[in-house]
Symmetry: C2
Subunit: 233 residues, 2 copies
């Protein structure tokens, strides 16, 4: 029971339960459950999660109703416990989690908008970071995070000499700019390349290797989010 | 009348008309109007633009209702003219434009979710690209695009030795992965660093320099989206 007492949040962004992303989410739930983890899934499309960052995220009055600043108002609302309930619920899930897994298909070298909205709205100032209080001092330090994603393009396309460049470059804004900024220890990404072009056997292999990796996930060390350019490679 | 006959689409993602982003949008409308351009603004928050990529984006029946694949269904719907009207309207604006300006505050090293949703939904296969038919062969070739964005962090933070790394790295997914993929000629980004921490005079200076740049925008050559690592810097 490697995961006994551990809490995992899976933030899942796919429209179709029977999709390959759905299989990756399901196998994670099964394997982590077998380990004795407590698992929560935020199924963003099923929840019809709101991606837009608007005035509706603040209940009650604004500190400056004349000129609306989302960042300022949400920071104040967090401190006054006046954020909308959908944000508060997600923040509670994050707060309780030891590990957060983001499961999504890559859309435009990034997360789908519904998941971007989760990041924009849930990881607000005061809750996930402050100024100062970011990167290694981010408020979610002590928690780990993994991006588990599928791509349209092949692994070759996402190599240094491929048309889309080394995959670590598109990971930078997500892993460093968002997760590391909030203090998360970023574990290695789980990238399932081009499942649409894979055989059924290859797809099963990708799902199985994710399950296999999760068996020893609690022993993993964080990666250095900085891509090769930092090291002159 | 440097811009006579030219069409410009400004995709604008800020909640507050009186914001600094609003000023940058307004000054672009004014300067390009003075040049004789025809300007359309998609004010995403005012439109309550839908960011979520769902089954609602396809009118009529699905090609595979058993297992929903957003990419497959939207591609088919594009070919059958069965996309939802909000997507069709935005695609028309893009189709007519010579230049698309994206005006937004940087959220998590990327665009706000509402603008990510515009990219996810509007720039669909069949309309913006096909396989093959991407990067230099993307269907929006001949059009130019500019990211005009504001940051929370200072220019120093977004330098090679700064905590957030060279700003060109966070631009990569947007400029190469999305815009260049669709064939856009990417013009230099317009980055207004940390307006919240600037004096009123400095803010006016940033707005003025954007207006000044737009005076000669039709003479600009595209940049190479590839950041320094490609060149061993």
């Amino acid at each position: 029971m490697a995961g006994l007492g551990k809490k995992v949040l899976i933030v899942y962004a796919h429209q179709e339960p029977k999709s390959f992303n759905g299989s990756l989410k399901d196998v994670a739930v099964a394997e982590l459950g077998r380990q004795g983890c407590s698992i929560t899934v935020s199924d963003l499309y099923a929840m019809d999660f709101e991606p837009r960052a608007t005035r509706n995220d603040i209940t009650g009055t604004l500190s400056n109703p004349e000129t609306f600043s989302y960042g300022v108002e949400v920071y104040e609302a967090y401190k006054k416990a006046a954020l909308s309930s959908d944000i508060v619920q997600e923040q509670k899930k994050v707060q309780e989690a030891d590990l957060v897994i983001f499961q999504f298909p890559l859309y435009w070298f990034s997360v789908p908008a519904i998941l971007k909205g989760w990041m924009d709205r849930v990881l607000c100032q005061g809750f996930a970071f402050d100024l100062p209080g970011f990167y290694d001092d981010g408020f979610l330090k002590g928690k780990s995070a993994i991006l588990s994603l599928t791509t349209g393009g092949t692994a070759e396309m996402y190599s240094k000499t491929g048309v889309s460049g080394d995959f670590r470059y598109f990971l930078w804004p997500l892993q460093h700019g968002a997760l590391h900024f909030c203090g998360f220890k970023v574990l290695a990404p789980q990238i399932s390349f081009a499942p649409e072009f894979a055989s059924e056997e290859e797809r099963r292999g990708m799902v199985a290797s994710w399950a296999e990796r999760l068996k020893t996930i609690w022993k993993e060390e964080p990666i250095d989010c900085r891509p090769p350019w930092y090291f002159g490679q």
